[in-house]
């Protein structure tokens, strides 16, 4: 392997792969590229993130439908779950996905050298790669930092001694914990919590705030919490954790609220209290790259404070941490290194989702975020039960919310808590991207009956009383 490269990429996850492949495509495979990282290829998403979590969610959905059928005349079946076998199949799927999408793909690029180890800057144009063997110095002309993020472990007395699992290790479980305490009400905790609850675990979620999933429209967050509560999840809101300790083989969390001290005892604790960017060990000062504990500062072209160094993905200081965003930013960084027409990222157009059931999906700004920009918004909320397909599905809990600029009527935010929300939020992306108004959305037929029709009905509710409309009117 070489000592000097055109492009050195720190990381082997989604952002890194997308950057390396894009750079190879643009330069006809002639840019020499080093990609450095540790752990399985593909990083968080395929190994311990999107793929295993969505697998577990879908499996748990099947179990839930079987134990709680929605239609009269269909009786609950006797549910038999072999959790060990399910988790074995989950790990097999992860392995296959990793092989298919990462290991095999990278083999086909002769210009990319993959290194095992941790990278640390020693100069503005050089890093050192440290692993168990001799450290190796690599020089580069350009760099892309794509080192991702990790679970934030809160400093709580007794937590380390008592032991816990995270979204990195939950996938190694072979037996279902009878009881589980989740620290944190973010999307990762909600997704894993609902799945395990549906498979038979008694789940308690402890959080400081009264809402769930930061960034979600507040009333929608409350509805989601009510739905999850009705399925059996015990939310302990507004709690400050005092300490964690072991008692008779159980893990006890002691917490404080206005009402005094209380405790929750469980077989296992899942720490899911946010993510932090992996910046600490990179010696970024030596590279002249500005950062904070929130991540690396970049401009819209993904350039850092050093014009030859870019950053992409979870390590960037930005409001979303998503696989799609990481891949898109990796690709934008590579394009901007080699091409003269600058590509920019627009976070307003990035859709995101929480894969609970029902799903939450969103793009653009919430009502309060838009009002904070100094412009005035008008909004409409339509409950899911007004959507015919939802009634057919017997899914009554959820809602649609559309935020428009009061003056121009252009759509600036679309938020949905409904079945399939993650599948159709793209309609909101195009609406915002192309400056559509709610009137534009009304003019196009949506397929009847679909849950996505909720977007059209919400648009119609800006000017009409939905209860006085017949089916599918425009």
């Amino acid at each position: 392997m070489k000592n000097e490269y055109d492009l050195v990429i720190l990381g082997r996850g989604a952002a890194a792969f997308s950057a390396a492949i894009k750079a190879s495509e643009i330069t006809a495979g002639q840019a020499t590229i080093a990609m450095i990282g540790f752990g399985p290829l593909g990083g968080t998403c395929v190994n311990v993130g999107c793929v295993p979590s969505k697998y577990l969610i879908e499996a748990a959905k099947v179990a839930h439908t079987q134990s709680s059928p929605r239609y009269p005349g269909i009786e609950p079946g006797l549910l038999s779950i072999n959790f060990g076998e399910l988790m074995e199949s989950l790990r097999r799927t992860v392995k296959e996905e990793r092989k298919e999408r990462y290991e095999n793909v990278i083999k086909s690029y002769e210009n990319i050298d993959v290194y095992d180890g941790k990278a640390q800057f020693v100069d503005r144009d050089a890093i050192i790669v440290k692993n168990n063997s001799n450290p190796k110095k690599l020089k580069g002309y350009n760099f892309i930092i794509a080192t991702g993020s990790s679970t934030k472990i809160p400093k709580i007395e007794g937590l380390n001694e008592t032991g816990y699992i995270t979204s990195n290790t939950v996938w190694d479980l072979n037996s279902l914990p009878r009881t589980l305490t989740i620290l944190g009400g973010g999307f990762i905790g909600l997704e894993i919590g609902q799945s395990l609850e549906r498979l038979g675990t008694k789940v308690t979620i402890i959080k400081e705030h009264n809402t769930v999933a930061p960034g979600i429209e507040e009333e929608i967050g409350k509805t989601l919490m009510e739905i999850l509560t009705s399925e059996g999840i015990d939310f302990r809101n507004g709690k400050k954790i005092l300490r964690v300790y072991s008692r008779n083989g159980k893990k006890v969390v002691e917490m404080q609220s206005n009402l005094g001290k209380e405790e929750v005892e469980a077989d296992e604790i899942l720490v899911s209290s946010g993510r932090m960017p992996n910046v600490a060990d990179l010696d970024l000062e030596k590279a002249g790259v500005k950062y904070s504990e929130n991540g690396i500062s970049v401009d819209e072209t993904m350039k850092t404070s050093n014009p030859l160094i870019y950053a992409a993905g979870d390590v960037v200081d930005q409001k979303y941490r998503l696989e799609t965003l990481a891949a898109s930013e990796g690709s934008i960084a590579a394009s901007n290194i080699y091409e003269s027409n600058e590509k920019r990222i627009n976070l307003q157009l990035v859709p995101w989702a929480v894969f609970t059931e029902p799903q939450f999906a969103s793009v653009g700004l919430t009502e309060s975020q838009y009002n904070a920009t100094g412009r005035k918004s008008t909004t409409r909320v339509v409950p899911l039960e007004l959507v015919p397909k939802a009634r057919i599905l017997k899914e009554y809990h959820g809602s649609f919310k559309i935020v428009v600029d009061s003056e121009t009527e252009k759509i600036v935010g679309v938020h949905a808590l409904s079945p399939y929300a993650a599948e159709f939020i793209i309609e909101g992306v195009y609406a915002i991207k192309y400056g559509l108004t709610f009137r534009d959305l009304i003019e196009n037929s949506h397929i009847f009956p679909t849950v996505a029709e909720g977007i059209k009905l919400t648009s119609q509710s800006f000017t009409r009383d939905l209860s006085r409309m017949s089916c599918c009117m425009e």
Partner: protein, 70 residues
């Protein structure tokens, strides 16, 4: 300059022509190293703008980075 995308002598000619049309002189292009060097009058074109010439645009096969200006 580091030049990417050249695979044959024809490419060398195309890149040289492109640089010439952009106002460069004393052009030397190396297929083997994927590099080019040239002299420019910076009252006519800034050295950094050489990588923005049409021969290196999105529609062409070639890309370039200006790595050193003396």
């Amino acid at each position: 300059m580091r030049v990417f995308g050249m695979t044959c002598d024809d490419c060398v000619r195309t890149v040289s022509e492109g640089l010439k049309e952009g106002g460069a002189s004393e052009i030397f292009v190396s297929l083997k190293n994927g590099t080019a060097s040239a002299v420019v009058d910076d009252s006519m074109i800034k050295p950094d703008d050489l990588s923005r010439l049409p021969v290196f645009s999105e529609k062409s096969h070639y890309r370039a980075q200006v790595r050193k200006v003396e």
